[in-house]
């Protein structure tokens, strides 16, 4: 199953319709009515309208697909999409690492791996990563006064 076709109108309609329906059902528990009346409209109105429009649009997509036979079919090629999915996973791991060992170390671990994965074998991009991690960290720390996550070693750089 390396390639499969997605009927985007139908699938979007079902997924988004389900999300809209679940969120509509969640409104009473997720958006409580204020204890006292300040004269302001209910905080449920805007989200409620949005969810209603989302649900109607989802139904419209399903009708388009099943009744009117208007469909936009997209081919999902696993071989082509696998790198994108792995890169997104890589970004998530990067964030996890950043929270644990800091910005510079996480960058120095993840990006060489990413570069190696995408097939880069020249040393140039690896050197750029090494320099950029330190430069961006110091730029934010000294110029913008924003300390990116760090372990507090080497004068706060790592």
């Amino acid at each position: 199953m390396k390639k499969f076709k997605i009927k985007t109108n139908l699938v979007s309609g079902i997924i988004m319709g389900a999300i809209a329906l679940i969120l509509i059902l969640c409104i009473p528990s997720q958006i409580r009515v204020p204890a006292y009346d300040s004269g302001a409209p209910s905080p449920r109105i805007i989200p409620g309208i949005c969810l209603a429009i989302m649900l109607v649009s989802s139904i419209a997509l399903i009708i388009q697909s099943l009744v009117l036979k208007q469909e936009k079919v997209v081919e999902f090629d696993w071989e082509k999409e696998k790198p994108a999915i792995l890169l997104i996973v890589g970004m998530c791991v990067y964030i996890g690492l950043m929270l644990c060992i800091g910005y510079v170390l996480a960058s120095l671990i993840i990006f060489p791996l990413v570069l190696f994965y995408v097939g880069e074998r020249k040393p140039g991009p690896y050197i750029v990563v090494l320099i950029a991690a330190f430069v961006i960290f110091l730029l934010f720390k000294n110029v913008f006064n924003i300390s990116l996550p760090a372990l507090g070693l080497l004068g706060g750089i790592i």
């Binding site: 429009i53 082509k80 994965y117 995408v118 991009p125 750029v128």
Partner: protein, 516 residues
């Protein structure tokens, strides 16, 4: 204070060394980002946004972002001409004639034509912006929160209507954006919405990390994917010759520039129409009225001029609804609206009364950026074009590192990074489902303005919700919204059809040229 007095105060504020350096820097960065296929003007603006946090003058921040926008629109044409790959969506029509001319060995002529047309279009719309802004502001000076809410509806409806090929999908995307902005504590009632007991969601989703994940990170991941799939193969950039455009040729393309700039300025001023739509309509119109329509698609200077003056004309005219009504004209101005909000500026009629000098500083800054594009383009294009040849693996890690640092900088809280990852995954799912995330971004940006005005209007009229229909101006705005929505959907279909025809024609002509 009169408009003239405000303009005379704004001019010296723009011509400070600091602002001029910002404009230069912004233009060069825009050109670089615009010319690298896969990087876009929106990405450039997002990367710059965290840097502007430290600016003491919000006008300087907006001027820098506008310079990136102007430079990026021209930069998009460099790769369109040299590689047949438009650097931005707005430069697709430039490939129709720019690339065939480059194949004839006249790269410099094509680039010069593009620069001349870009500057012409940009200046045309910037002057229009300067002249019209105050006039429109006076017309809408009596608007109340009721009308502003209706304007918000107009903004989101039109973007939903014109972006992407499916209206229901765009509506879903826009509504998700509004819902995402609803998450967290409601400013009026203090009630928490859709936090699901999570501390990360309790304080809401900040706009900047969301925009970074939706636009910048999504683009970089897709581009890296393509790099991996193509095994790092890059297109060959062409060498730039020395034969530029002659004065005679410059005069010959003036009518095309003028026609295209005028049409694009009208289209760009309509909320929801961006350079992507304008370029096709202008290209087609100039071809229709040309004395030599048969030369179009074969390296015709008029064709390049039509495409390039239209996409740069949109820059200034898209600022008209943004500055006067607070409604973004396209995806990039939606980002600029976000930048305005982040810097505590509320665009709209009150901006010209309360912060008039700042409004004119931004407008004059836009004008100056377009003026400076000419010498900068002449001097820098050759160097910038070489950047197209830089391997993407040099750029991607730096962009990603910068993105996450920028997302963290929004609030200095690690929750932003977690949200960034979550939104990146969600954005990928939307891409797979063929749902455009531009309306989502716009929904996020407009929600605050819409809800604020909705609450104010409701409280002012004792929760009489029919007020949005019974107040005449509001009703007119809503009717115009419906009319524009229907007409824009028609225009969109026409453009899609034109695009398909052009691409088919170009593909067959390229095939013929390859065979030859």
């Amino acid at each position: 204070m009169s408009d003239f007095a405000m303009i005379s105060q704004a001019v010296p504020q723009v011509f400070t060394l600091y602002n001029m350096l910002l404009i230069f820097g912004g233009l060069i960065l825009g050109m670089v980002i615009g010319c690298v296929p896969g990087l876009s003007v929106t990405l450039g603006i997002i990367l710059m946004l965290p840097l502007t946090y430290t600016f003491s003058d919000p006008a300087s921040a907006i001027i820098l972002l506008l310079a990136v926008y102007v430079g990026g629109m021209y930069g998009g044409s460099i790769s369109a001409i040299t590689l047949n790959t438009p650097g931005t969506n707005s430069a697709i029509a430039t490939t129709f004639d720019g690339y065939p001319l480059a194949r004839k060995g006249k790269v410099k002529k094509a680039l010069d034509t593009s620069l001349f047309a870009s500057v012409f279009g940009g200046l045309f719309s910037a002057v229009l912006l300067l002249l019209c802004a105050s006039l429109i502001t006076k017309l809408v000076a009596n608007f109340t929160s009721v009308e502003y809410f209706s304007l918000g509806i107009m903004g989101i409806s039109l973007i939903a209507g014109v972006s992407g090929s499916s209206l229901p999908k765009s509506l879903i995307s826009g509504m998700i954006g509004l819902l995402m902005a609803c998450i967290g504590m409601d400013a009026v009632t203090g009630v928490t919405r859709f936090s699901f007991g999570s501390a990360t969601l309790k304080y809401g989703i900040d706009m900047l990390p969301a925009m970074i994940a939706l636009i910048a990170l999504t683009q970089v991941v897709q581009k890296l994917r393509d790099f991996k799939v193509a095994c790092g193969k890059l297109d060959d950039a062409r060498k730039i010759d020395k034969q530029g455009i002659t004065k005679k040729e410059m005069i010959s393309i003036l009518p095309a520039c003028l026609r295209s700039s005028a049409i694009a300025s009208i289209l760009g001023a309509m909320p929801g129409v961006g350079g992507g739509v304008a370029q096709f309509l202008c290209y087609n119109e100039v071809r229709r009225t040309s004395k030599h329509p048969e030369e179009f698609g074969k390296g015709c200077l008029e064709g390049i001029a039509a495409a390039e003056s239209s996409n740069n004309a949109v820059v200034g005219s898209a600022m008209i609804p943004l500055l006067t009504l607070g409604i973004p004209g396209d995806g990039v101005t939606a980002l600029l609206l976000g930048a305005f909000v982040l810097h505590g500026i509320q665009p709209g009629p009150t901006m010209f009364t309360k912060q008039g000098v700042m409004a004119y500083t931004i407008i004059v800054g836009c004008l100056v950026a377009n003026l400076l594009l000419a010498p900068l383009g002449l001097g820098m294009t050759r160097i910038v074009a070489k950047i197209v040849q830089v391997r993407y693996t040099y750029l991607a890690p730096v962009i990603i590192m910068f993105c996450f640092a920028g997302a963290f900088a929004a609030t200095g809280n690690t929750k932003e990074l977690i949200l960034c990852a979550g939104i990146l995954i969600f954005s990928y799912i939307l891409t797979v489902l063929d749902i455009d995330n531009t309306p989502l971004m716009l929904g996020m940006i407009l929600e605050d303005i819409m809800e604020q005005n909705f609450v104010t209007a409701s409280m002012s009229y004792d929760r009489n919700y029919s007020i949005f229909i019974t107040r005449p101006i509001s009703a007119v705005i809503l009717i115009i919204t419906i009319v524009l929505l229907v007409s824009m959907i028609r225009v969109n279909r026409r453009v899609a059809k034109l695009n398909e025809e052009q691409e088919a024609q170009m593909a067959s002509e390229h095939a013929k040229m390859e065979n030859a």
